[in-house]
Symmetry: C2
Subunit: 242 residues, 2 copies
Amino acid sequence: FRDPSFAQMSEAVVVYGGCGALGSVIVHHFKTLNYRVISIDLKANEEATSNVVLTGSETWAAQADEIKSGISAAVGSGKLAAVFNVAGGWAGGNAASPDVVGSAELMWKQSVWSSVIAANIAALHLKEGGLLVLTGAVPALGGTPEMIGYGMAKAAVHQLVKSLAAPKSGLPQHANAIAILPVTLDTPMNRKWMPTADTSTWTPLDTVADLFHKWLTGGLEVTNGSLIQLITKAGETTLIAE
Amino acid sequence: FRDPSFAQMSEAVVVYGGCGALGSVIVHHFKTLNYRVISIDLKANEEATSNVVLTGSETWAAQADEIKSGISAAVGSGKLAAVFNVAGGWAGGNAASPDVVGSAELMWKQSVWSSVIAANIAALHLKEGGLLVLTGAVPALGGTPEMIGYGMAKAAVHQLVKSLAAPKSGLPQHANAIAILPVTLDTPMNRKWMPTADTSTWTPLDTVADLFHKWLTGGLEVTNGSLIQLITKAGETTLIAE
């Protein structure tokens, strides 16, 4: 008798934000490559192997508990090969904006809540040598005066990656924690809102999904703690790691 | 007839966290130098000229509204010479900690809520050429694996300073936004909890208050956007700006 448990099946990855533009491309990419894919989002991704469907918790702790329960139920005693957090959003506003606090809070919830929960999930369920990828942003490497909240949240994610890559972070042995730092992703929403922009400098979503797979399987080397800028010119994407 | 309004009296500064160890020393220092000092904290600082006493709002927006009303009432149509945010705290925990979310949230509230509200107050009430000082931390310039939430919150403050120093941040013309990055401040709590530590490397609170006054009055040059490490050795504090 062999228990057909999760651990004995194909490798499993979590996609936090699995219904977003990038997330759904990643879910599709890894499903096509025969991974078990667990999507975390406010709705189910029908293509995912399983889903943790969030109820829109009002507190960070409640959202963390909801996700930890859902992931535990999905993986049991098995281990995850990777956790990808591609949840996030964008909001503008400078220090004089009447809604600077509101936009800063939204950015914090979308990027920092999800990143810390993803790190916690990785600490609990990632296999030795597994991969955690978070999502930062190139502009937040410097000041972002007209998008105060966005910059702070992404800067916090960048620093989190440095923490996770250091000894005693709580991640499993030999795990790698990195962040992708896009400039502009080639999403339907960006095409809708910036119809006249030069899309040859936008990073295609398939490119990102392919990178994630190559990092996971050794096709591209991963340096623990690196912040990897995705710089696209004339349709070609170059990686700049720091 | 001259209206004895706030604007025509001595210069005014805000101390956010005016009842803390550092905050109360700053309140005392500036009061002694005949400034009007507005303290923001959960209780009144009896030495302050006026107080905005917080009720412990559950939301960031409510706390911002409470403070904006209080500051507007205190300054009227006058202008502030400086806003000092020295609110903050410390919590540990790595990514595997059961309470990583709770400690990250506490750090965010103590450091990021206060810093964004201070920036908003500065945008609304600081005079041209005025000074905003926020509080970062030396360790958050790198990874902080055993204090995940603390590092993220302070990294967000560091990036906020870069944003505020850039054009179109919303701060008044010629205003300066900087952060102090202490290692360990010589506070009663730190003496209590680290009774055997070498306090010759701790930065005295009076030193910090004196720095704030020198930066405000031109006794020491201020470079907009700088993160200023306070490195104390053998009781002498050196500033390292980046």
